[in-house]
């Protein structure tokens, strides 16, 4: 069946901000879909609030709406654009839920919009657990015994009937929010209550727990002609009980016999047919009883999912791209398999390697939250690794995570469990945590048996046996004693089991370089194999490679000069999709400029690891050894012009100094070090006459105290060479400082990020209270011209990490003269550092003085936001400049135009994961904790801010009660804000101190609230119960600068748990008031980026490699 010609215009819904459970994978799938639909000649209308995505670059759609993903906004877009169809299956749960909301309110029917990919009936059957289970039972598929409940009493009744342990899952949620396992009545009462609150329809499923069963996923595709294929099978290393997003997962399935696998395959087809997903991909989860082989269906996602992205990268079969084609009418056999170029997409990929995905968590960002894994997803990113065997891929995956580990132990980190006896170690390993694989290796190394560990953890013995091979090999290597003792066969065996040179160097106490040299001397080097969907049965045209230790390479030689782009590795807080955006833009720009682009990255969620983003893709850990392997192979296959390290965040930047300097494109590594080296940086600022907050460096507690005493408290303490404000803290006295330095010391010994060491001292600076923070993104070319991308003013004052702060283009409050000063300083710094490429400079402005905080000669996380706000493709410009172009040349070429502006304001707002961590304090601080961002764009600051809040999920109230609880220093500023809210028709509630202050200033306070645990004369409800009872519509709570924060934390936690918008700075409250006022005066309208940018339609970037 050919392409549907009755459709002309298609609305694609993106997934919004990166949040836990819904991450970059949907940028990957959405980008593929938009690209395919445009190539097919459809007019694509895209809605997505996330400016950091590649899909929201104006080239990928005809109309790109960076607007809040709410039903009202989407309806406005539908009304304005009148699409013929909406494709809701590529933007995660967000897009699916939105489409269902619009379907239910009749919008699609009213405007004649057809839902393609999955119809509402199919979505409802798959998503509604009761209907799903009924449907599965109808077709004879087993499901775990269960019942539904809509209120607590019912939940208790159902639970008691089925018997413990029970698993509780709320309906219509993503990433397992509100899910948990109950072992007794108390557990059930607690988890059921949370689950009922988490489900938008107050429905929970209570089912027999099958924790400990083996968990599998199948990725299924179906077309209009009812052809079905399985793209990939996935087996979880962790048994049932750990959310699949938090599990180590392995493709293909390892421990299913053909008989069992085919049974599961049949069930998957029956499931997708019964649910009625007519076209596209679905993900179906199964559990298998290890004792009997009994299979049950757990759930089905009637859309492209995180696992689809993984399956696509694992096999080379582009699920999202094909799903988009199927949605517009093609059948699988009409679509060509890109990789072979000859065979059709109606086949099942077969692979000749093993893929391991390992999640990355951010528990260190949320003190007090235990790092225990369960049925709700908590990871913020993941790495994938490809090896010929499971041990190889596991070890590659672990070093890809960048947690300071070089593989499965055999490094400094393995000492963590030395203090535990065997029983303790087994007991700990039985609890799923990020450390489990390391604990299993340690246990096997002590001689604890596979049987005992399997019994304790439920991890399949096959995986444990494979780890045992690593253990045995390590023992052999230790006995050999050093690199000189290994023959060719020894090296090959060690490398084939995935040992990194760094692990071997640690084992033998020699330098990594020595290991590498000895190994190469013995003739054992990495060979590059190809991901080809067919286990080499057909020739692969698409150069998608991974390293392993085999006989030969499969890398072809190219004729054009090559640029290697190093990606940003797994997503984490502080280093997310923004950097992938930059790398991808660089690849497109350099490809267009005639270079052959070579991407190195290990994050399966990203666009950068799509095989047709770059001319060549190496799915490899971004470590020195693995990058060096790529450079060796690429150099032998043609001219490598250089390596781009400045666009992928800290991951590649950290490698800059280990690469041959002549290969580093753009800013020399020397200058990168200069910006990080405190003494030299200070000298440079002094020479340039740019003020800095007073400060110094310290490699120990005493030094730190000396610096603090010299400059005066409060001081900002931060490690060098880290991202996202890891371990950054504002301290107000010596005691706090001692504690902060101690915790840094603990990091250091384990080589973790942000650790304290003599080479990487801690920076101690005077903290400027109440200063306005400003970020600048700029690009300097080799001739010295500097392009100021944008000057961004932060809404929250200095002290809140820039990644967690809302920021605004153009600056709403800074005087022109200050902006001019900032621009002048930026030029001077870029010039003095000798920057060639991107630079980000942070300033703090107090009164009229502009202090420079720090400069980073690399792309920052605001680059995509700047591009969307101004229309200037900053990342592409930076990439071209690093590869030798001048800004003048790029203007002549037409790549670089004037920024647009004057008629709109853009606000970037951070999205924080607190709903995942209900017990975490939502207070913002110098340590970054946001996972994603959204953008609001409109005619005024107020409107843009209001949109940004709505997009972030905290729609500002139109009226009601604002609850204030302010620190003393914020009270003066708070009065004006409170007055504004009163003018807007709100009533004010406040804690006693704040209330007294407000009333003294003539602001009426309707409700005076006792602080938690304080007896308030005159009574009054306490803050938490007020919030819990739904009597508050907005919370403004600023913490006191020091001392106990207990009451504030309770207030913020209550707001978080009861989903009341909570602002923790007066500045944000002021912006909210402006937003509410502007919104009341003129309702926000939707407008596309193309209209803001005034640009004609741009061609799709990065023609696929030939």
């Amino acid at each position: 069946m050919p392409r549907r010609d009755d459709l002309h215009s298609i609305l694609v819904i993106g997934s919004g901000p990166i949040v836990i459970g819904q991450a970059v994978e949907f940028d990957y799938s959405g980008t593929q879909a938009c690209r395919v639909l445009r190539q097919e000649g459809y007019r694509v209308v895209l809605a997505n609030s996330n400016p950091a995505t590649i899909m929201t670059d104006p080239e990928f759609a005809d109309r790109t709406y960076v607007e809040p993903l709410t039903p009202d906004v989407l309806e406005a877009i539908v009304e304005r654009e009148r699409p013929d169809a909406v494709l809701p299956t590529l933007g995660g749960q967000t897009a699916l839920n939105l489409a269902m909301a619009l379907h239910e309110r009749g919008t699609f029917e009213r405007f004649g919009v057809e839902m393609i990919g999955a119809r509402p009936e199919a979505i409802a059957t798959a998503e509604d657990r009761e209907r799903f289970k009924k449907a599965m039972t109808e077709i004879g598929l087993a499901v775990p015994e269960s019942g539904f409940a809509y209120e607590l009493a019912e939940a208790m009744e159902v639970g008691e009937r089925i018997g413990y342990p029970l698993i509780i899952r709320p309906s219509y949620i993503l990433g397992g929010a509100g899910t948990g396992i109950a072992h007794d009545r108390d557990d059930l009462a607690r988890i059921a209550a949370a689950g009922l609150a988490a489900s938008p329809i107050s429905e929970i499923l209570i089912e027999r727990s099958i924790a400990g069963w083996k968990e599998y996923e199948l990725e299924v595709m179906r077309d209009r002609a009812d052809n079905c294929v399985i793209v990939c099978s996935i087996e979880n290393f962790d048994p049932m009980g750990v959310h699949t997003g938090d599990s180590i997962t392995v493709a293909p399935a390892q421990t299913l016999s053909d008989e069992e696998y085919q049974r599961m395959r049949d069930s998957a087809f029956a499931c997708i047919r019964r649910i009625g997903v007519e076209t596209g991909g679905s993900n179906i989860q199964f559990a298998v009883d290890p004792a009997t082989g009994d299979q049950v269906v757990i759930e089905m996602n009637p859309r492209v999912s995180r696992s689809s992205a993984l399956a696509s990268k694992a096999t080379g079969f582009p699920i999202a791209k094909i799903a988009a084609r199927l949605a517009v009418g093609y059948t699988l056999d009409e679509i060509r398999n890109d990789i072979t170029g000859e065979t059709p997409a109606s086949f099942e990929p077969t692979i000749d390697y093993v893929v391991t995905k390992i999640p990355r968590w951010a528990f260190e960002k949320f003190p007090g939250i235990p790092d225990v894994l369960g049925t709700r997803m908590q990871s913020v990113g993941e790495a994938m690794a490809i090896g010929r065997t499971f041990p190889e891929s596991l070890q590659k995956g672990l070093r890809s995570l960048e947690r300071g580990r070089w593989g499965l132990n055999c490094d400094a980190g393995e000492a963590l469990w030395d203090g535990w006896d065997d029983d303790e170690l087994v007991r700990r390993a039985a609890i799923a945590t990020p450390d489990r694989p390391f604990q299993l290796e340690a246990a096997l190394r002590r001689g604890i048996t596979v049987e005992r560990l399997h019994e304790a953890t439920g991890v399949d013995p096959w995986f444990l046996d494979q780890i045992q091979l690593v253990v045995d090999e390590r023992r052999r290597l230790a006995d050999l004693g050093g690199p000189g003792a290994l023959g060719r066969a020894d090296w090959k065996r060690a490398k084939r089991l995935g040992f990194s040179d760094a692990q071997l160097a640690w084992l033998w106490g020699v330098a990594e370089g020595e290991v590498r040299a000895a190994r190469l001397q013995a003739g054992v080097r990495a060979t590059m194999k190809t991901v080809d969907t067919c286990a080499a049965e057909f020739e692969a045209r698409t150069p998608y490679h991974y390293s392993t230790y085999e006989d030969d390479d499969e890398v072809g030689s190219g004729s054009r000069p090559k640029v290697v782009i190093l990606g940003s590795g797994p997503n984490r807080i502080g280093q997310g999709v923004e950097f992938d955006y930059c790398c991808v833009q660089a690849s497109f720009a350099l490809h267009d400029a005639g270079f052959e682009t070579v991407m190195v990255n290990c994050n399966p969620e990203t666009v950068s690891t799509d095989y047709d983003t770059s001319d060549r893709l190496y799915f490899e850990p971004v470590t020195w050894e693995d990058v060096q392997n790529v450079l060796d192979v690429e150099s032998s296959a043609g001219e490598v012009r250089g390596v781009i390290v400045a666009l992928g965040g800290q991951t590649p930047l950290k490698l800059a100094s280990q690469l041959p300097p002549s290969l580093v494109l753009g800013t020399p590594p020397e200058a990168i070090d200069l910006a990080e080296d405190r003494e030299r940086w200070n000298a440079l600022c002094r020479r340039l006459g740019i003020p800095q907050p007073a400060g110094g460096t310290a490699s120990g507690v005493d030094e730190a105290i000396a610096v603090a005493e010299r400059v005066g408290y409060p001081v900002l303490v931060r490690p060098s060479y880290v991202l996202g404000g890891r371990a950054m803290e504002i301290v107000y006295g010596e005691e706090d400082l001692r504690r902060a330095m101690e915790s840094l010391g603990a990091f250091g010994s384990l080589g973790r990020e942000g650790g304290l060491s003599a080479e990487r001292p801690v920076l101690v600076d005077r903290f400027l209270e109440d200063a306005t923070e400003v970020d600048v993104d700029a690009v300097r070319d080799a001739e010295g011209e500097v392009l100021i991308g944008a000057v961004m003013e932060h809404v929250e004052e200095a002290g809140v990490h820039s990644g967690d702060s809302a920021c605004v283009i153009p600056p709403p409050t800074l005087p022109a003269a200050t902006v001019a000063t900032i621009e002048r300083h930026t030029r001077a710094i870029a010039e003095a550092l000798g920057v060639v490429g991107p630079i980000n400079v942070q300033y703090a402005v107090r009164d009229t003085t502009v202090y420079v905080i720090e400069a980073n000669p690399r792309a920052s996380r605001t680059v995509p936001f700047v591009s969307k706000a101004t229309g200037v493709p900053l990342a592409r410009v930076a990439a071209r400049v690093m590869a030798g172009a001048t800004l003048r040349g790029l203007r002549e070429e037409g790549l670089l135009g004037d920024p647009v502006g004057g008629n709109h304001v853009s606000v970037k707002e951070a999205v924080l994961p607190f709903s995942r961590f209900p017990d975490a304090d939502t207070l913002l601080g110098p340590e970054m904790r946001s996972t994603g961002e959204v953008m609001g764009i409109d005619a005024t600051f107020g409107l843009a801010f209001a949109k940004s809040q709505a997009a972030a999920g905290d729609t500002l109230p139109e009226g009601g009660t604002v609850f204030f609880s302010l620190a003393d220093r914020d009270k003066a500023a708070g009065v004006a804000v409170a007055r504004r809210f009163v003018q807007l028709g709100f009533t004010v509630a406040a804690t006693s101190g704040t209330a007294a202050y407000f009333e003294a200033q003539g602001v009426p306070v309707a409700t005076v609230v006792a602080k938690v645990g304080e007896e308030e004369p005159g009574g009054g409800a306490d803050a938490v119960s007020l919030i819990r009872d739904g009597k508050v519509n907005l919370v403004v709570n600023t913490p006191r600068g020091r001392g106990p924060r207990a009451d504030g934390a309770y207030i913020r936690r209550a707001a978080n748990q009861h989903r009341v918008a909570c602002l923790t700075t007066v500045a944000a409250a002021r912006a909210a008031a402006a937003g509410i006022a502007d919104r009341a005066a003129s309702p926000p309208r939707v407008r596309s980026l193309q209209e803001y940018h005034g640009a004609h339609q741009l061609p799709l970037p990065g023609a696929p490699p030939t």
Binding site: T343, P344, W462, A535, E539
Partner: protein
Amino acid sequence: MTNNRRAAALLVLADGTSFEGEAAGWWDAGDPRPATGEVVFNTTLTGYQEVLTDPSYAGQIICFTYPHIGNYGVSAADNESARAFCRGVVVRDLSPRPSSWRSEMSIGEFLESQRLPAITGVDTRRLTRHIREAGSMPGAFGPVEGPAALSETDLKEAAAAEPGTLGVDLVSEVTTERPYPFGAGRLRVVAYDFGIKRAILRHLGTLATGEVVPASTPAAETLAKRPDGVFLSNGPGDPAAVGYAVEQIRELLGRVPVFGICLGHQLMATALGGRTYKMPFGHHGGNHPVRRLATGQVEITSQNHNYAVAEGSVEGAQVTHLNLNDGVIEGVSCPELRAFSVQYHPEAGPGPHDASYLFSEFERLMGA
């Protein structure tokens, strides 16, 4: 699990290309002889045991493209015949121990029990790419150190001396010596055993009660059993070398409904005047897309063949199925003779079940 080092081994192809590995499986230390056969690769991810016990692999050395082999062990229920007929196994990695509730022995024990030599640690991807480019060809492998050690020259000579499968009657090596009964179904079927798989008998057995007969059974003898249908099984090697069977099939066609699979398909097509040819490296795997021309539907199929029916050569029949990867004829039918056949394996074992409807078609044909 053993920590003992395996002996270094070498696989040498007839064109002189060699591959390093380690000796595994069964070797007779008292009589060091290389494993020889035609080297083919199989791309299936699951079902190694079914592949190893499929008589169609007689005369061949099987290279598995999936690196981990043996993960879920071996169980009697998965055997496709009484024993392994292939000549040797080439793998990247053999699992030290099985993990499955179904497992009765490890892959290592299975290889020993079948006296099947293996070579592990091989860059099987390089081998596969080589065969893809140069075609399947004879090869020989064996240990080059230890008690059963062979020299590289021994292996080269053995590879060169190995005849391959072209023109060789391998069916006589695998067919049953005497008839035996199968099934408990309503109809009566005589199944010609050219190397029949148990999965086929399981399918046929649900619709028929019948007899498996030797490949050389005369048509008259078969017809004397008054069957409702005759089944032509899969089997190894070159159909052109099994002329005696073609003769009998020619006599059966038109007198009784006939259904053929794989070699049975090639023999039936030959009986209808068709011609077969040797493919460069054949189809061996579980993921081949085949279009069923009657409906346009695509089925994912299990395949194992090195020979195929030449396009346009079977005038007496219509083509019913085509391979979407390379256009190879995957099925023919001759309604007036009540006969049809497919090149692939609807019985699975191993592989997908997409085409199991063909057994129902056979049932309808016999019932008509």
